[in-house]
Structures are given as structure tokens and as C-alpha cells.
């Protein structure tokens, strides 16, 4: 009797405990989702007509930055940083828009594959230089941002080219229900098809390990250099996806890099990925990007000058990171 009671008694708390542990581990992401829900509610309050169509537009407009944030998240988790993401996106975008210009659908699909391979190669060059030269990654990728932007200009000196209809069709409109934007579904499927299997694999764990403690990872037998290279190649792959998304959402390719590099750093940090590496995931940064964009929309609804959106984004970045660092200090002292 007294022996059976504890087993019955502990069975449920254990399930609850693991659920609570899951929430605690992903606390930052859940907080972001709550914030996003609150923001959507607020948007609906100040603009009663806010509905499925604007949400579809939102999903389309954030898509390139979402992919840039995922790209940055991977390399930051590995303990690095990539300041050439914007340039890589511009490069892959002009290549895709130029090669797909007035071509058949079959050629278009081949171009998509080729551009993804190009992204892996370009990211791999970044990674190889970081590993081989031992120059700090921030310096190498900063310099390579000039190189890739130059390559983009070599392909095309001004905006141009075109995207085939099927590619543009992938990023606008609803999928089934009008509340489900196709752009969001496409980007989530692509990200999770690549990221979920990877993050559970040996390679994905190695990426977290070298970001968490490079020396400990090395001594545990993880091939540190190869893993860093892999992280940069993956960042290149997602930058290429971002470039394709730019081509699809704008319908052309522009050789001038957008503000994606710095915004992706901001989104990654807001998304709960530690700049020191080893912590976080790709889902937090994705939610953070949507929040940043929605704040901009709300400020427009509230008839603020659109430039205050910049101010709000900067202030949020500083406030959130400041508060989270304060909280972690408290926890450390307790």
C-alpha cells in the first residue's frame, strides 16, 4: 500500500517534470511565441481589418530574412559568425534570376539545384578560409562579403533577370485554408527537412559541441575543423535558399546586398542563440524575424513615421539582450 502509492504518485509528476523541463529548456522560444501572439492580437485591435490577406503578405515579405536568420543561426551555434550572408544572398539571387530568365520550367528546376550547390560551395570557401588561415571568422567573412558582392556585380551590373511563374507562385497566396500562407509553409518545410534530421545527427551534435566548448569537443574526438567547415557550408546553403527566396519574392535579381547580414545577427540574438555559441536553435530566430516585421507593420498602422521602425528594432535588440543578461546574472549569483 505504502509502496504502491509513491509509484502512482511519481508517474504523473515525472511526465509533468519532463514537460516542464522541455518548456524551461525552450523557454526563450515559448516566450517569443507568446509575444508574437500578443502582437498579433494587438495588431487586430488597432486594425480590425487585419486578416488572412495581410498575414499572407507578411509571410511573403519575411521569407528572405527568415532564411538569412536560419543561415546565421547555424554558424553562430557553431561558435562563429558570418558577415557575408547578405552578399551571398545577392550573389545567388542574381545568378538564379539571370539563368532562369525566359527559360523553361525544367531549366528552372535545374537552376535551383545548381544555385543551392553554388551556395554550399561559396559557404564552403568561407569555411575553408576560416579554418585554414586561422584568422578570426569575423574578419574573414567581412572581407569575403566584398568578394561575394563583387561576384554578384560580375554576373549583373544592375537589377534584372526574372523568376519563372512557378517559383513566384511558391511564395504568394494561401495553401488550402486562407489563414495558412504558402510562403510560411514552404519555408518551414524546407528548414525543418534540412535542420531537424541534421540537428539530431552526429554532425549536428558536433556543431553544438564545438560552439559550446571547442577544446572539450576536440578532446572528445570531434573533428573540429571539419565541423566548422560544415557549419559554414550549411550557412552558405541557407543563404542560397535566401537568395532564391529574394528572386521569388521580388521577381528579379539585384546585385546590391540588402540589409540581411546585420538584421540576421539581430534576429539570431533575439531568437535566443548565444553569440558565444553552443546554445539555441533555428526556430527562435524565425519567430524573432516575424516579430520584428510585425512591429514595423504595427508602427505603420499607428501612423508613426516608418523610420521609427528602425529605432524600435534597435531599442528592442538592446533592451531584450540587456534584460536577458541581467536575468542570467541574477541566476548565476543565486
Amino acid at each position: 500500500m505504502s509502496a504502491a502509492a509513491p509509484t502512482v504518485g511519481t508517474a504523473r509528476p515525472r511526465a509533468l517534470d519532463s514537460a516542464a523541463a522541455y518548456v524551461r529548456r525552450n523557454g526563450w522560444t515559448f516566450g517569443l511565441i507568446a509575444l508574437l501572439a500578443g502582437l498579433l492580437l494587438f495588431t487586430k485591435l488597432i486594425q480590425p481589418r487585419y486578416g488572412p490577406i495581410p498575414i499572407q503578405g507578411l509571410a511573403t515579405s519575411v521569407q528572405p530574412l527568415v532564411l538569412a536568420a536560419v543561415a546565421q543561426a547555424i554558424v553562430v551555434i557553431s561558435g562563429g559568425i558570418d558577415l557575408s550572408i547578405g552578399s551571398m544572398m545577392a550573389f545567388t539571387s542574381v545568378v538564379s534570376a539571370t539563368l532562369m530568365d525566359k527559360q523553361s520550367d525544367q531549366v528552372g528546376i535545374a537552376v535551383v539545384v545548381a544555385v543551392l550547390v553554388l551556395g554550399i560551395v561559396v559557404g564552403g570557401v568561407n569555411g575553408a578560409l576560416v579554418v585554414l588561415t586561422r584568422v578570426p571568422d569575423i574578419v574573414v567573412t567581412l572581407a569575403m562579403s566584398f568578394v561575394w558582392a563583387g561576384c554578384a556585380l560580375l554576373v549583373r551590373s544592375g537589377p534584372g533577370g526574372s523568376a519563372p511563374g512557378w517559383l513566384k507562385g511558391l511564395v504568394v497566396g494561401p495553401l488550402g485554408n486562407e489563414w495558412i500562407p504558402k510562403a510560411a509553409v514552404v519555408v518551414l518545410v524546407v528548414v525543418f527537412l534540412i535542420w531537424i534530421p541534421l540537428s539530431r545527427s552526429r554532425a549536428g551534435l558536433s556543431i553544438y559541441a564545438i560552439g559550446s566548448n571547442r577544446l572539450a569537443a576536440f578532446r572528445s574526438g570531434i573533428p573540429v575543423s571539419r565541423t566548422r567547415f560544415l557549419a559554414y557550408a550549411l550557412t552558405g546553403l541557407f543563404s542560397a535558399l535566401g537568395g532564391l527566396s529574394l528572386t521569388a519574392t521580388t521577381g528579379i535579381g539585384s546585385p546590391v546586398p540588402g540589409p540581411y547580414t546585420l538584421l540576421s545577427v539581430a534576429a539570431v540574438v533575439l531568437g535566443g542563440v548565444s553569440l558565444a555559441g553552443g546554445r539555441g536553435g533555428v526556430f527562435g530566430p524565425i519567430v524573432a524575424v516575424v516579430i520584428l516585421q510585425l512591429i514595423q507593420t504595427d508602427l505603420t498602422f499607428l501612423r508613426f513615421d516608418s523610420n521609427y521602425a528602425y529605432v524600435a528594432q534597435g531599442a528592442i535588440l538592446i533592451l531584450v539582450t540587456g534584460l536577458s543578461s541581467l536575468v542570467s546574472f541574477r541566476r548565476m549569483r543565486a
Binding site: L83, T133, S145, F146, L154, A266, I318, T321
Partner: protein, 329 residues
């Protein structure tokens, strides 16, 4: 005899390496000389006193911005807000020249605004211990956004770069000595003395080398860092004033394209982005190297895409070579 020569060569190689490590300016000046030689070969007769003056004049704003990076990088930080702050200072000054106080007041107001931005950055970095990369990035968004708002407010007042700034930024004495040296030389003297002769400079190195050790030895790092980011923002503001005088333009994005080269100049100049190692002398040579390189690429009539590719590649090569030469054996 034949066996002796390699052993004799090895110590001299080590001495050379040690020399380069202790005096990084020497190989950098060598590289600068080579670049000047190449530019003379590419276009004979181009290198003369007036050309050197023009190069120097172009390099001054970049060298001041690179000074901001050097100081912050010594503590293991970075300042990505220099572009936004510099542009803001130049722009605000241009919009305020018709105010009652005239040009001096406009300059003081713009530099005070820069200092305010630096104060907030410094407090968040120093007190809340947020990574400077994030704080300065956020601050650059804030400054750019507010400058844009100000631009819309002040569009009627008729902005213009004051003639005093044009004289300082782009004027030359005897077509050789740029007037901007009046601003630049005191800044150089100030930074060099600060780093080499003052306790504050030593604290910057100490915090960058080992923050925990610096704290345990009694350094109040939040005060040091707050003062550092205020200083960096004011220097960026001054660079913005000189740049707006040099280019005779005042826009909210004037210095944006100088941020990455300013980091590159400090890195090429031998300042470690990890903190604790470096100095301003190398950075100045680094800024000159980037300016001469840019001029060389223009002389060679390379198209813009190729110029960017070569520019980026050379930064990687120089940084890698520098790492190789100065690496501990």
C-alpha cells in the same frame, strides 16, 4: 660550413619574426611601399607630393574611424555604430548651420548627440555586459532611424555643408598638406599617448587580455568601457564632420560604407579582434594601405566588381600572412 648556414639562418629568421611581432608597423610600411611602387609602375609619374597629399586627405576619415575600432577591439569589443554616428554628426551639423549659434553650435550639438549615443552604448556594454557587437548594431539602427526622422523634419530648412568644414575636410596647403591634419594630428597624438602613457590605456589592454583578471585586480571595467564607447562615438562624430567636408555631402548614410573598411584597417594594422593586442600606429598604416590599394585599383582601371573582389581577397591574404608571421612558434 654547408651545414652551418641553415643553423645560422634560423636564429636570424626568429629575430626577424620577433621583430615583426613586436613592431608590426615595419612589415606594414613595407607593404605600403610595395603598393606605392606598383602604382608608380602602373602609371609612371603619378607618385608625387600632391598625390601623396590627396591620398592622405582621403585616408584621414577612415583612419579616425579605424581608431574607434582599434580602441574598442583592444578591449575585445567592436563598434559597428561608427557609420551611423558619423553620418548623423555630419548631417545634423549641416541642418543646423542656420541656427542662432551658427556653425560652432551646430558642431557642438552634433558631437554631444554622438556622445549621448556612445554613453548609452557604453552603459549597456559595461553595466549589463551585453556583447558590444549587438549593442552597437542596435545603436546604429536607432541612430539611423532618428536621423531619418530628423531628415524629414528639417527638409525645408535648406541644409548645406558649412564652408568651414569644407575647408578643413578638403582644403590643402600648397597643394600638398591637407588641412584635415589640423584635426587628425591631435587625435593621433591623443590616442597614442592614451594607449602608451596613461593608466586608462593600460586598463584597455588589461580588460581585453583577461577581463576576469582585470576585474580581480580592481579595474572598474564598467567605468572604463562607458568612457571608451563615449570616446569612440565622439571620434566617429569628428570623422563624420571631416568626411562630410571632404565629400561636400551631408546624408544619413554618408559613412555607412566606411564601417567595414574601418574594421579591416584595424585588423590589417595588427590589432587583434580578440582584444589585448595592437595599437594605433599600425591602424594608421592599415588605413593608408587600404586607401592606396583603392587608388591602385582605380589606376589599373579595373571594373567595380573586380575591385571589390581584389579588395576583399587582399584583406584575407594580409590578415592570414600577419597571423602566420606573428604566430607563436
Amino acid at each position: 660550413m654547408t651545414a652551418a648556414s641553415p643553423t645560422a639562418a634560423r636564429p636570424s629568421m626568429a629575430t626577424l619574426r620577433a621583430l615583426f611581432r613586436d613592431r608590426p608597423v615595419i612589415p606594414l610600411v613595407g607593404l605600403l611601399a610595395i603598393l606605392v611602387l606598383v602604382i608608380e609602375l602602373a602609371s609612371p609619374g603619378i607618385v608625387k607630393a600632391s598625390w601623396a597629399g590627396v591620398i592622405l586627405r582621403t585616408a584621414v576619415p577612415l583612419a579616425i574611424l579605424a581608431g574607434c575600432q582599434t580602441l574598442t577591439m583592444l578591449t575585445g569589443g567592436i563598434d559597428l555604430s561608427v557609420g551611423a554616428v558619423a553620418s548623423m554628426a555630419g548631417f545634423v551639423t549641416a541642418t543646423l548651420i542656420h541656427s542662432p549659434g551658427g556653425v560652432p553650435q551646430a558642431i557642438i550639438v552634433s558631437l554631444l548627440l554622438a556622445a549621448l549615443a556612445g554613453l548609452i552604448t557604453g552603459l549597456v556594454v559595461g553595466v549589463f555586459r551585453v556583447h558590444p557587437l549587438i549593442v552597437t548594431l542596435g545603436m546604429s539602427f536607432i541612430v539611423l532611424g532618428l536621423a531619418n526622422v530628423w531628415q524629414l523634419q528639417s527638409v525645408q530648412t535648406g541644409a548645406g555643408v558649412p564652408s568651414e568644414l569644407r575647408t578643413i575636410g578638403s582644403g590643402m596647403q600648397l597643394e600638398v598638406v591637407p588641412n584635415s591634419l589640423v584635426v587628425f594630428v591631435p587625435i593621433v597624438a591623443f590616442i597614442l599617448l592614451l594607449l602608451r602613457r596613461t593608466g586608462y590605456g593600460r586598463l584597455l589592454f588589461a580588460i581585453g587580455d583577461n577581463p576576469v583578471a582585470a576585474r580581480l585586480s580592481g579595474a572598474r571595467s564598467w567605468q572604463v568601457l562607458t568612457a571608451l564607447y563615449v570616446l569612440s562615438a565622439v571620434l566617429a562624430g569628428i570623422a563624420g564632420l571631416v568626411l562630410s567636408g571632404l565629400t561636400n555631402t551631408a546624408s544619413v548614410s554618408l559613412a555607412d560604407s566606411s564601417v567595414l573598411p574601418s574594421v579591416a584597417a584595424a585588423v590589417i594594422g595588427g590589432t587583434s579582434i580578440m582584444g589585448g593586442r595592437g595599437g594605433y600606429g599600425g591602424t594608421i598604416v592599415g588605413a593608408l594601405i587600404l586607401t592606396v590599394l583603392s587608388a591602385l585599383l582605380t589606376v589599373l582601371r579595373l571594373p567595380e566588381p573586380t575591385r571589390q573582389i581584389v579588395f576583399g581577397s587582399i584583406i584575407v591574404v594580409v590578415a592570414a600572412a600577419y597571423n602566420r608571421v606573428t604566430a607563436e612558434a
